[in-house]
């Protein structure tokens, strides 16, 4: 167990429905992820990995048990406090990119800074820098429809890191990309992890994508089925 984990699950339960229809998406999960780790979460659908992801990203709260993130009991916060937490510490990358349509790359990247109240000029500068970091310098004023899938995902990554978060949550970030593009995105994420010390938690169902991570956690039926270090295996 790590000395000072970035986030920790302690006997976390997540239950949907009631009575006979009760389903335990998570059934007593214990888990800790340290600062600077690159973790892949795998498991079949219905295994609870998405639920775990949502809790890790402070989008959802456990039904029982505690979820600590950044030293606070994030599982007990109301939705607006969790919004602040996400804005300050979490960056999201989704399978479907989730960029705002008809909005330029730069504006998309600026978005989290707007909710932080960063002044326009600084916002612009930081967005440009983040886009440069993901290799999209010169494409700042393109809208998503003018960019390829790989480029769109880079914009999404720029949006996720522009706030300099401590955690990047990636939900199947390569799910919509071909192999070559997938590996480019994974190189980018690995680079951010090693250079910026950014903690990355990534859900994937592709084994070769998971090998980019240092650690793989497998979910099955709401439990952690295995938790292995890829470094030891190598």
């Amino acid at each position: 167990m790590l000395a000072s984990p970035l986030l920790a699950f302690q006997d976390v339960w997540k239950t949907y429905g009631r009575g006979e229809a009760k389903v335990h998406a998570l059934a007593g999960v214990d888990l800790a992820i340290g600062k600077g780790e690159f973790v892949a979460i795998m498991g079949p659908s219905g295994s609870g990995k998405s639920t775990a992801m949502n809790i890790i990203g402070c989008l959802d709260t456990p039904t029982a048990g505690s979820y600590r993130f950044q030293g606070v009991d994030a599982g007990r916060l109301d939705r607006n406090r969790r919004a602040v937490l996400r804005n300050l510490y979490v960056g999201f990358v989704f399978q479907g990119y989730n960029l705002l349509a008809r909005t330029t790359a730069a504006e998309n990247v600026e978005l989290p800074l707007i909710y932080r109240g960063v002044p326009a000029r600084e916002r612009r500068e930081r967005a440009m820098a983040a886009l440069a970091d993901v290799g999209l310098a010169g494409r700042e004023h393109h809208t998503p429809s003018e960019l390829s899938g790989g480029q769109q995902q880079r914009v999404a990554i720029a949006r996720a890191i522009v706030t300099r978060p401590s955690l990047l949550v990636a939900d199947e970030p390569t799910g919509n990309l071909d192999t070559a593009r997938s590996h480019e995105i994974m190189e980018l994420l690995t680079g951010l992890n090693s250079e910026l010390g950014l903690t990355v938690v990534m859900v994937t169902h592709e084994a070769d994508i998971a090998t980019y991570a240092q650690r793989t956690i497998r979910f099955l039926d709401g439990h952690v089925a295995s938790d292995t270090s890829n470094l030891e295996m190598a």
Partner: protein
């Protein structure tokens, strides 16, 4: 932040120009109607006031009236008659003129042309009391009034209709089967406060009118012009005393006639137009309400369409209030646009109306500002529920929304 939100709202309005415009239409029509109504209404009131002040503030009007204005309708007012006129003419020292008049709208025919005109039977004093004279020809004389000769003076509108550029003097026109010789054309007076053409008129001796047109001896109105420098209130009092004597009303009996000066009549007419304006304004207000519901409807559609966008915004750290404000501002901007277009429309309508009815164009800054504020308010009120719905979305569900 707010500027950012307004920019976002403008962009969203621009993206759906046609839809935005159709949504606005309700507000546009509502605001345009309110602005037009109020502007035309206050123009009319102004016109009534200036008209009546032109008539002269020294003019008093005596009419037959029921003793109690709110009383039973079974009581018919006792008509004015010759004795009332004679009594006033003899008893009033402060009067410049006392004139008896009866009036009716009658079809007037000349050759193949015919027109419905206001036909007045009166005496020579009428022209003094109303400060009116002829532009061409002459007025009828005392002896013509006494004998009830078939002569008449006509207004400019009637002259235009019948004679065009020709000379009407000495021509015979037919007024309700009575043939009548035109002896003069009146000075033009234009439209009255209610848009009535005062030049669409034929004036003849009272006796001729009573005998050949009305068929009775009734007098509708007695005009009394107070001598210059005499307070109308005192004249009014004297008229009341003389009338009560002439009509033999017991000391405790109520007046069966009314005496009013022109300012009182002006106020009465102005308050009537104000009531009308208010009622029409209320009707227009209903269309504003309908416009507001239109805004609510389209904002609900917009929130549903943009569920995913809301999900993204929530995920990256937007508060509920950010989303709420975003959609509220959008609804407000939308409805404010409608308000501005409506104001432009309404003022244009009022300007056109004032031109064609020849009343003054009286736009009021206060009303315009009120309309702006009100349309913004409508946006906020009707945008609130959809915005709240958007703000309350669960980010996980919203992100999953297709």
């Amino acid at each position: 932040m707010i500027w950012e939100t307004v920019r976002l709202a403008l962009r969203s309005v621009r993206r759906n120009v046609l839809r935005s415009f159709l949504t606005l239409l309700g507000i546009v029509i509502g605001v345009a109607a309110v602005i037009a109504m109020i502007t035309i209404g206050s123009g009319t009131t102004e016109k009534v006031k200036t008209d009546i002040s032109k008539l002269g503030s020294n003019l008093l009007v005596v009419r037959a009236a029921r003793p109690d204005r709110s009383g039973s309708t079974s009581f018919t007012a006792r008509q004015l008659d010759d004795k009332d006129v004679a009594g006033l003419a003899k008893g009033l020292d402060d009067a410049k003129a006392v004139s008896a008049a009866a009036q009716k709208t009658v079809r007037v025919v000349y050759g193949a042309e015919n027109v419905a005109a206001d036909v007045t039977g009166t005496d020579t004093e009428y022209f003094t009391a109303r400060d009116w004279g002829v532009a061409e020809g002459r007025l009828f004389t005392e002896s013509e009034v006494r004998s009830g000769t078939n002569v008449c003076v006509i207004g400019e509108t009637v002259r235009q209709q019948f004679f065009g550029a020709g000379d009407p003097d000495g021509q015979s026109i037919r007024v309700n089967r009575m043939s009548c010789k035109v002896i003069g054309v009146l000075q033009t007076k234009g439209f009255s406060g209610f848009g009535q053409d005062q030049d669409n008129t034929v004036i003849m001796p009272l006796a001729a009118y009573q005998r050949r047109i009305a068929g009775d001896r009734d007098i509708d109105t007695i005009y009394v012009a107070a001598r210059d420098g005499v307070a109308t209130a005192r004249v009014q009092e004297n008229i009341e005393t003389i009338m009560r004597e002439t009509r033999r009303i017991a000391p405790d009996g109520e007046d069966n006639f009314s005496v009013r000066d022109m300012t009182q009549i002006a106020d009465a007419m102005a308050s009537a137009t104000t009531t009308m304006t208010g009622m029409l304004g209320a009707v227009a207000g209903v269309s504003l309400l309908v416009g507001g519901i239109g805004i609510m409807n389209i904002m609900l559609v917009s929130v549903t369409e943009r569920t995913r966008e809301i999900g993204i915004r929530l995920a990256i750290g937007a508060h509920e209030k950010h989303i709420l404000i975003q959609f509220l501002v959008e609804a407000t901007v939308l409805s404010l646009f409608g308000g501005l277009i409506g104001i432009a429309f309404g003022l244009g309508l009022a300007a056109a109306a004032s031109y064609s009815l020849s009343i003054p164009f009286a736009p009021s800054l206060a009303v315009v500002l009120l309309a702006v504020g009100f349309s913004a308010l409508i946006g906020m009120v009707f945008g609130f529920f959809p915005a709240l719905r958007g703000a309350r979305l669960d980010p996980i569900d919203a992100l999953r929304h297709e």
